[in-house]
Every structure is written in structure tokens, then in C-alpha cells.
Symmetry: C2
């Protein structure tokens, strides 16, 4: 039985750096990936943090992801660019793209940067967070191999194709939302199955296209349900177009599953980033004041549980991060287990994982 382990941000970061440099990645790129995985864990989004590192590294070792890939601008204009991710890790191509979008939006006011030839990019929220850090509004979208059905379909039609956005504030931390376009992520179905619980009728669809409460059917005999039916399906299709169609990336069933499909081949994912620079439109302090006022108004609205105010998206995650910075992160046992496996496999001998 594996126990949770509380680890400092620094120690967790060092672990990720050591793992990534040990398989031949340069220090700069390793740092980019480590920064994002640790940020994700510090938010408490453990499904998309260092838990994934072992699988990312397995794909690099098998040759499917290029540890030395160098993303480049394939084409660009005054307010847009298409990036070829050179089949580097998803975080490398997408970090490059988001930085480019921030740079373009500085003068243009808005920018679109699409990426092709990239891979699983981790938690979508880490990219908009970069825009918020630069006092801009950021959006991130991605496509993926289908796992979510459409209304009336017997099998998956779209990926979970996430949307994340962030809006910077002054008094408050940035608003930050990161959602899949399915009702729930696959992880929630697996977790309910592990706990031997039935699941709500709007989570998955069996292979006859009917809702089911039997989580054991997923993924072989069921697909995830889109959030609110046609709404989630329609949004997934928007993200497929902006991240896949428009970038020249693989689309829908052409995308490889980054864990289960042939590990020697590029996954072909696409991603898309939109950045808006409020400062060109109104004085930044006025913009911040308006965002802060809106957040205050929400906080002051009557809540069902009178001891807790209504949250804005990201509020819980930034609070967890504050705590993580001072007290470390309590990594759940499933994550510890995955990290320990990787640690042993590549011989890091990380002391706090022993």
C-alpha cells in the first residue's frame, strides 16, 4: 500500500528536471516541462501533473517524441502564426506558441497561434496562465483522438478537446478555467469503478448509444458523453477546427492516443492559442478594477453554504498553490506510485521517494 508523500515545490521540480535530462533533453526544455507539471500539481490537478511524466518519458524513449525537437514558426502574419512543433513534447511546442501569441498580441491587440506536429500538452490551464502573468487574456484549445460521442452516435466522434482560459486581475488572482468538453474526464469514470460505484447517467454512452451507469464498460464498450449533449459536442468541434483543421495537424481519428497507440510514432496532435491584450483597449488599471469588481460582486452573492462564498474559476487552485509554496504538496498515492516506478526505472534514486 503506497502512502501519499508531502514534497516541497523545489524537490518536486528537481525530480522532474533530473528525469527529463537523464533521457537526453536539454536543461532549458526540461525546465519548461518541469515548470508546467509542478504548477499543475501545485494547483491540485494531479491527473495532469508529474503523474504523467513516466508516460511522457516512455514515449520519448520509444522514439515517438523527439527530446531534441525544436519548434519553429512555419508561417506568420501581423496577428497570427502557425507553429510546427517538430514533434517535441507537447509542452515545448505549446509553450513556444503561447509565448509567440503573447508577443504578437502586445502590438496587435489579439493573436492566434496554432500548433501542428505537437503532442499531449498536459493541463490546458498552464498556457493561459502564461498570458495572465503577462497581463493578458489567454485561451488554449487542443484536439485529441476521439473518446467522446456526439448526440445519437454509437461511438466516439470527438476528443475531450479541452478549453482553458485565464483573465488577469489585480486584487484577486487570475480567473482560470480548464475544462474538457465531455461531461466528466475519463479519470472520474475509472475512479468510480475503482470505488465500485455506479456512475450518473450523463457520464458515458454504451456501444448501442444508450446512457449507462456501468462504468466498467468504459473505454472498450462505451464512450464519454459530451457535456450537455450537443453543446459540448459543438464546442469540441470548434476546438478541433482551430487546433486541428486550421493548423495542418492530424484530425480526429488520425491523432494517435499518446499512451496506448504505437509509441514509436508521432501522435500528431494540434493545439490553438488566442491571446488578447487589454492594455491596448483601456488603461490596464481600469481593466483590472473592472475584473476585480466583478469578482467582488460574485464573492458577495448569497451562497447556499453561508460559511463559504461563491468561487470564481481557479480560485481554489490558486489557494492550493499558495499553500504548496509554503508547505509543499501532498502527492496522492496513485501519483507517488507512478513517480516511484519512473524513479526506479531510470535509476534516479530520488531520496524523498525512497
Amino acid at each position: 500500500m503506497v502512502s501519499p508523500i508531502t514534497v516541497s515545490i523545489n524537490d518536486l521540480h528537481s525530480y522532474a528536471m533530473a528525469a527529463l535530462t537523464s533521457i537526453g533533453m536539454n536543461k532549458g526544455d526540461a525546465q519548461t516541462i518541469a515548470d508546467k507539471l509542478v504548477l499543475t500539481d501545485s494547483w491540485g490537478t494531479f491527473t495532469h501533473g508529474n503523474k504523467l511524466l513516466g508516460d511522457y518519458i516512455a514515449r520519448i524513449e520509444a522514439g515517438g517524441t523527439n527530446p531534441l525537437g525544436k519548434p519553429k514558426i512555419a508561417s506568420e502574419g501581423p496577428a497570427w502564426a502557425i507553429v510546427d512543433g517538430d514533434n517535441a513534447a507537447g509542452q515545448i511546442g505549446c509553450n513556444f506558441a503561447m509565448n509567440k501569441a503573447i508577443q504578437l498580441a502586445k502590438s496587435a491587440g489579439i493573436a492566434y497561434v496554432g500548433v501542428r506536429n505537437t503532442s499531449h500538452f498536459g493541463a490546458a490551464g498552464v498556457y493561459p496562465a502564461m498570458a495572465a502573468e503577462a497581463n493578458m487574456i489567454g485561451l488554449a484549445m487542443a484536439n485529441d483522438i476521439p473518446s467522446v460521442c456526439a448526440p445519437g452516435s454509437k461511438k466516439a466522434i470527438m476528443g475531450t478537446n479541452p478549453l482553458a482560459y485565464s483573465i488577469p486581475a489585480s486584487k484577486h488572482p487570475p480567473i482560470l478555467l480548464d475544462i474538457a468538453t465531455s461531461t466528466v474526464a475519463a479519470g472520474k469514470v475509472y475512479a468510480a469503478f475503482d470505488r465500485e460505484e455506479t456512475i450518473p447517467t450523463n457520464w458515458i454512452i454504451d456501444s448501442n448509444g444508450n446512457p449507462t451507469t456501468d462504468g466498467s464498460l468504459y473505454p472498450l464498450k462505451a464512450a464519454l458523453a459530451p457535456m450537455t449533449g450537443h453543446k459540448g459536442y459543438g464546442m469540441a468541434l470548434l476546438h478541433e477546427n482551430l487546433a486541428g483543421v486550421l493548423t495542418g495537424a492530424s484530425i480526429s481519428w488520425q491523432v494517435l492516443n499518446w499512451i496506448f497507440d504505437d509509441q514509436t510514432k508521432p501522435t500528431g496532435h494540434g493545439a490553438a492559442f488566442i491571446v488578447i491584450n487589454p492594455e491596448v483597449m483601456m488603461p490596464l488599471n481600469k481593466f483590472f478594477q473592472r475584473v476585480d469588481d466583478l469578482i467582488d460582486e460574485i464573492h458577495n452573492s448569497p451562497s447556499v453554504n453561508e460559511s463559504e462564498h461563491i468561487l470564481v474559476p481557479g480560485e481554489m487552485e490558486w489557494e492550493r498553490r499558495e499553500k504548496a509554496l509554503s508547505k509543499g504538496i501532498k502527492m496522492p498515492s496513485d501519483v507517488v506510485s507512478k513517480m516511484r516506478d519512473l524513479d526506479k526505472r531510470i535509476g534516479l534514486n530520488t531520496h524523498w521517494l525512497a
Copy 2:
């Protein structure tokens, strides 16, 4: 008992033009509004078509909307603009803004145009449809007075703050999605109440913050539920920021309800439009081919009802429009009733409504 009436597109358009010019609007602006209301009815989206004309005109007559308002560019840059809607009808300010966005995106590749000092803009989908007509990808968002609760809130926090988008294709009509960020629109709650039916538990929240199946509580003692809880709430908040905060429009509870609040005052709505021009990023025929291929793939996916293929968003609406162009539109009785009321009130004597 009012019966449905089938009317030609031309006759319906003439009715809207006659009504709008009769209260002092110039012909060009009347045509803009009539075009959009008739397009909406031809899609079968009767809740947002000519049914609303009587209430739009009532607000103009009361002085709350300026029939001679002239939207202007308040500020602009290479890829963005803020439009002051001059308190003209929502369709006038927003049509102006979407045209500006299309023009800016031609060379910039992407553009953001926000509008303040506008009003209820009808069906959000009519604006992206303009972008698709220009071979571009279009998005529309708006804010509104709160009617939708947030997770844990006892009362409404956000408006239904819709999102619409369109993506042009070649073989197929444009993909076109138009959704509110609540689980369902208020109209569905009223309709279930009229039919004396209970409603699903995820449609509304009573004033204690609990789900309820009693539609009669809405709107006085209940708020709409956000789609998939925190997801719809988070998206509504994005739209509030892009349409309200960033444009200088009224925000949240500052917005007036365009039907029920003081008819002599501007409603203060905001709206936001984003247009992306694929042609600067790849040859247009290649882009179209990729969109068409994706639609074909979806159409060829196995469906529960084997006699019907899986639809893409907007497909049903464009089919209805084809039929409307040749055979006219069967206006439902509730719409006929509203149109007849207006016809009598302003003395149009429209022959087919008699």
C-alpha cells in the same frame, strides 16, 4: 385559438421592414434587422426571430433604444476595435461590429471587436454566419442581466451569455453552433410549465440553491442552472469579460432586462466578436477540403438511429432554411400571435396576418 401561418421569406421580410420603418427607422437599418430576424426564423429558431420584433419596437417607442443610433468606432488597432453602439438596436451595433471584425481579419488574420452601449442582439448565430459568408471563422459572445446561478449560489450570478460560432465549408453548409451557457434557455422552462410537465433536475435551482423539478418557480423563485455546473458558469464568465468588462459595457446586474426593466433607459449590453481568416494561413480550398472531410467523417460514423446520420451543428438549421426559401416558413402560433398583436398596434394591416 391562433393557428400557425406559412409565409414566404419575402412577405415576412416586408412585414419586419414595414414595422421598423413605421416607427422612424431608416431603410438601411430596418433591412439589417429584418434580414437577421428572417434568417433566424428560416433556421427554425423561432424564439429569437420576428417573435421579438414587437418588444424591440416597444423599447424604441418608449425611448430606451434609439431608432436613429449610429454605431461608431470608439478606438481601434491593427487587429481590434471597440465599438460604441450608440444605443441603437442590438442588431445595428453588432452587425457593424462583425463587419469591422471581418474587415480587420482580412489582413491581420484574426480580429477582436467588442461593443458597448448595445442591446439584445437576437440570435447570436447570425453574426458568425456573416463571417462564414466571407469565408472566415466567426465567434460571437454577449452578456446579459443574470438569470443563471453558479455552483453553490442561491440566486442568479451570470446571464445566459451565449456563444455562437461558424466555420465555412465548401461541399457542406457552414458549421454553425449557437448555445446559451445555461443547461437550457428560459423558454424551455416556460414551455414545460405550459404543458404542465415537471422538468429535469438540472434545469433550474430554487431560491435555497437546490435543484427542483417545479418549473413554476422560475423566474421569481428560481434561477437557471449553468450547463454542467462549473463549466457553463466558467464559460459565461469568459463571455462576461470579453463582451462586458473589456468593452466598457454594463456588467452583470448593471445590465437592464431588455423586456421587463425600465423601457425608457438603455439596457447597456455588451457583445464581442472574434473573426479568424483561414485564407492567410493556408490555401482556402485546402482549408475547405479539411473541413468537408471532417464533416464527411462525422456523417459516416455509426448512429443509433441507422436511418439518420450524425449531424454537425447547424446542419438542421441550413436544411430548414433551404426549405423555407422554396416553400416559406410555417410560423408557430405563439409567434403569429405576437406578430398579429404588433401588426394591430402599429396599424400595418399586413394581409397575410389578417
